[in-house]
């Protein structure tokens, strides 16, 4: 048990020399492994279409291929994409679209996803991009594969391809009453076809497999415990690693005594500058060894929750003058001449993603080649992080993503992967690292906190005339107003965040909708107009009008008046191609001021629906998740430390927080499908804030609106005006 001092190793010098013999399955080997059949690759540039029809041998595939699809001799279809499944159901919805265009039964398709050796490069799974980008790409590829198979049949039968039809995994010549299965057609073939996105796609109105409620692929494995999540991966000889964490952010190591840890049986302490980790034969001993390490850290003084929003406003990221994203007309003049003027500030706290599966990775080195199984929304991004950390060529690093215990925008990075790889390298054995919940709360990144200032003007009749919206730090997503306003200033001001922050489901669309829709509600009340009528008066976007009217109708908006104990509120908006309107009913105990969300109606429209059951599940889940940020989730911090890094102190929405929820899906088959994983989250907070105002006359402008006190653990949250 020796201390492996690696204080100036390859991480620092960039001189990694180890006899490295590639064991990578390169693309050509990969095609050999696939065996015969037809391989269709998709590239966005049409130049490659000239290259189609080459055989596998010696063929260099284009670098910019975004997906590929293989049809094996038995008719089995394998689709390769760098996107990852994290619970949003794209393993199912993408396969549906391939089955549709290829004309094969759904269960003949296998999706290989998020494996940097096997799938084409992909930026990552975020921003609701899978459905609008990868969906059409896979459809294009599948349509090209189908056309290729029809051509092959036409050639074999010496008939005109136009007389043949493809259906149910077969090409049929109905005139001659003969057919060939795709397997029969591809047997003995070694054909590569490279296509660009110019194929004719099946109209949505003709969809038979896409557009239906196909159950989640692999569903059975989730109810039997058979599914292997990243944290479940096991390798032979695998050891368990754990990493010593500083006492606070930006801390430096002052002193270290690892002697007690090193005396533990089988324990290896790994040190590399301020990185200190342990490797042990089992998980218990790893944690035990970690707690036996004596370390002192110097933690510098740092900001806290107190005064956070002033801090964000006064600490811009850049020193120079920033220009607004959007300017129209003259806000100053329009406000000066408006009948109604309203100005206010809104805030949102830092919140944690808290995926139930924390960061986890298993790393192994063989012949200088690193392979890591890890949960991440960006397998290729994590590969790049590993390449950089260990100074390896990209071909020497493989990242494999087993469908993980979700991320919600919180797993773009590869911390656990790098830690497992470092420890594995030092130990000479595969190592697993799973973050504790406290580590996940403290050392991952957070949804940005933010301050939003809105100034608006309207005419007496409710016509909006001016809108000025400034967002400090929280982000620019959905910052533009969907309302018709002639005079606008819209500006996002990046700030120097005291805490590590990053992506989160919906990004700043939640914060910007909270502020905008609260402000719209306040304007409606100031004008003496019904919030629905006021909104409709200022919206010309027909899609937004449609969801607003659908939600209002289902909710029974206007049927009853709010009372001090019962309030009704609404909100609407659009982002990332999704349109949403939310109506909320809250119950309030006037004496204790405890608030409970009783009913939510959310109308949703995102173009053509690929899988109505999956879509409903996503929208419902987003609504439930948004309850936390709206009412009680917030990270508390001081001097570089997170003060509530446990579920006992950081409440997530539970069964008892969930109201009656009705999701109304509107479909526009004439509009391409948008992604639906995120925008469902934006409507609840402002709708609830507006309902609380309707009941009590109190306008809550800070998320969370009813933060829990430490001793509180009830299903209803109390708010303070």
């Amino acid at each position: 048990m020796s201390l492996h001092d690696q204080s100036s190793p390859e991480f620092a010098r960039g001189s990694y020399h180890e006899a490295s013999r590639s064991v990578q399955l390169d693309r050509r080997d990969f095609l050999k492994v696939l065996g015969g059949g037809v391989l269709v690759c998709l590239t966005p540039t049409s130049a490659w279409t000239q290259e189609s029809g080459r055989t596998f041998g010696g063929h260099e595939l284009p670098k910019d291929v975004s997906a590929w699809l293989h049809i094996a001799a038995v008719g089995k279809v394998t689709v390769f994409t760098g996107k990852v499944e994290v619970g949003q159901n794209i393993r199912t919805s993408l396969a549906q679209q391939v089955a549709e265009e290829l004309r094969v039964p759904f269960d003949s398709i296998t999706m290989v996803m998020g494996d940097t050796d096997l799938t084409p490069w992909d930026m990552g799974t975020f921003g609701s991009r899978t459905t609008p980008t990868m969906g059409p790409q896979l459809r294009t590829m599948a349509a090209a594969a189908r056309e290729t198979l029809v051509q092959m049949a036409a050639q074999r039968w010496q008939v005109d391809a136009a007389t043949l039809t493809a259906a149910d995994g077969k090409v049929t010549d109905s005139k001659q009453s003969r057919s060939l299965t795709y397997g029969e057609l591809t047997r003995g073939e070694k054909l590569v076809k490279i296509v660009s996105s110019e194929e004719r796609l099946t109209p949505v109105t003709d969809w038979k497999i896409a557009g239906t409620a196909v159950p989640k692929v692999g569903g059975r494995d989730f109810v039997t415990g058979a599914h292997k999540f990243p944290s479940d991966m096991v390798l032979p000889e695998m050891r368990f690693g754990a990493v010593l964490r500083p006492d606070g952010f930006n801390a430096t190591l002052a002193s270290l005594d690892t002697s007690a840890a090193e005396k533990l049986h089988g324990v290896q302490v790994v040190r590399d500058g301020d990185f200190v980790g342990v490797v042990a034969p089992d998980a218990y001993t790893a944690q035990h060894a970690l707690s036996a390490i004596q370390a002192k850290w110097n933690v510098p003084a740092q900001p806290s929750n107190e005064g956070l929003y002033e801090y964000l406003k006064n600490n811009p990221e850049s020193s120079g003058e920033e220009s607004p994203q959007h300017v129209a007309g003259s806000v100053t003049q329009a406000i000066a001449s408006a009948d109604l003027q309203l100005e206010n500030q809104y805030t949102v706290a830092y919140i944690a993603h808290a995926p139930l599966e924390p960061r986890a990775a298993v790393a192994t080195w063989a012949d200088g080649r690193l392979t890591v199984w890890t949960g991440t929304q960006r397998p290729f991004g994590v590969r790049d992080e590993l390449v950089q950390a260990f100074h390896l060529p990209a071909a020497q690093v493989r990242v494999i993503h087993p469908d993980m215990g979700s991320g919600y925008g919180g797993k773009h990075t590869g911390e656990a992967a790098i830690e497992a790889a470092r420890l594995s390298k030092a130990a000479g054995k595969p190592v697993k690292v799973i973050w504790t919940r406290q580590e996940e709360f403290t050392w991952a990144y957070l949804r940005p906190a933010g301050l939003i200032e809105i100034k608006a003007g309207a005419r007496r009749d409710g016509t909006l005339v001016a809108w000025e919206h400034h967002n400090y730090n929280s982000g620019p997503a959905a910052i533009g107003t969907p309302y018709d306003v002639a005079n606008q200033i819209i500006q996002y001001h990046p700030a120097r965040s005291p805490l590590r922050q990053g992506s989160y489901r919906g990004l700043a669309a939640t914060a910007n909708h909270f502020a905008r829709e609260s402000h719209m509600d306040a304007l409606a009340h100031a004008a003496g107009l019904d919030p629905l009528a006021f909104r409709l008066k200022n919206i010309s976007d027909t899609r937004l009008r449609a969801v607003l009217q659908a939600a209002a109708e289902k909710f029974g908006w206007g049927r009853e008046k709010s009372t001090p104990g019962r309030g009704f509120g609404m909100a609407c908006g659009t982002d990332k191609g999704g349109y949403i309107a939310t109506c909320a009913e809250v119950g309030i105990d006037p004496a204790s001021r405890k608030v409970r969300i009783r009913r939510i109606v959310e109308a949703w429209e995102s173009g053509a629906i690929v899988n109505p059951d999956g879509l409903r599940n996503q929208v419902m889940g987003a609504i439930v998740q948004s309850i936390g940020g709206a009412l009680f989730e917030q990270i508390l911090f001081a001097n570089g430390r997170i003060l509530n890094p446990h579920f006992a102190q950081y409440r997530l929405p539970r069964f008892s927080d969930v109201p009656r929820i009705e999701v109304v899906l509107l479909e526009r088959k004439d509009i391409p499908s948008a992604g639906a994983g995120e925008t469902g989250i934006v409507g609840l907070a402002p709708a609830v804030a507006n309902a609380i105002f309707a009941a009590t006359g109190t306008r809550l402008r800070s998320m969370p609106m009813a933060p829990l006190h430490k001793e509180q653990h009830a299903s209803s949250a109390q708010f303070h005006s």
């Binding site: 415990g225 215990g405 979700s406 419902m620 446990h646 579920f647």
Partner: protein
């Protein structure tokens, strides 16, 4: 380190572990039963739930040394001869999951509830399940799945 004889999913299993190691850690890391999940290590999320003599129990809070005489059932032990339990089948039929990480704990908590209370009201379901977190927010479907399972189970002597 000591040797313990555990009764897991109907089978006697010998395991060497420190007496104070959590049952969750022993199941996952020494017995390779990875159905029970780590979510918090503090009994707050329910992802690690197993049945201990039929009772839903947070395996992260139980020391292996204290369960030598108990009958332990993990998610891997619910399926009988290739047939899913009523609760498993109901979760599948309702699509009551997204990422699926909480699912094994949810199913075992629900199994325990339905053994005690054959036809629970919605309020009883919410109260019994409130210690299980689903960050994806599929609670309404999980409630529906438990109601479906209750309907499909024999009225008396409901078993897993």
């Amino acid at each position: 380190m000591a040797e313990f004889l555990l009764h897991v999913n109907g089978a006697p299993l010998h395991v060497n572990a420190p007496a104070d190691e959590s049952l969750l850690s022993v199941l996952r890391n020494r017995l390779h039963l990875t159905g029970p999940k780590y979510g918090c290590g503090e009994g707050q999320c329910g992802a690690c739930t197993v049945l201990l003599d039929g009772e839903a129990t947070r395996s992260c809070l139980v020391a292996v040394g204290s369960v030598a005489n108990a009958k332990i059932v993990t998610i891997e032990g619910l399926e009988q001869n290739g047939k899913l339990s009523a609760v498993q089948q109901a979760f599948l039929d309702e699509g009551a999951f997204q990422c699926g990480y909480c699912t094994s704990g949810m199913i075992l908590s629900a199994t325990s509830l339905l053994q005690r209370t054959h036809k629970p009201t919605e309020q009883q379901i919410v109260e019994a399940m409130d210690g299980n977190l689903c960050r994806c927010g599929t609670y309404p479907r999980i409630v529906a799945a438990i109601q479906r399972a209750a309907q499909s189970m024999p009225a008396k002597g409901a078993s897993r």
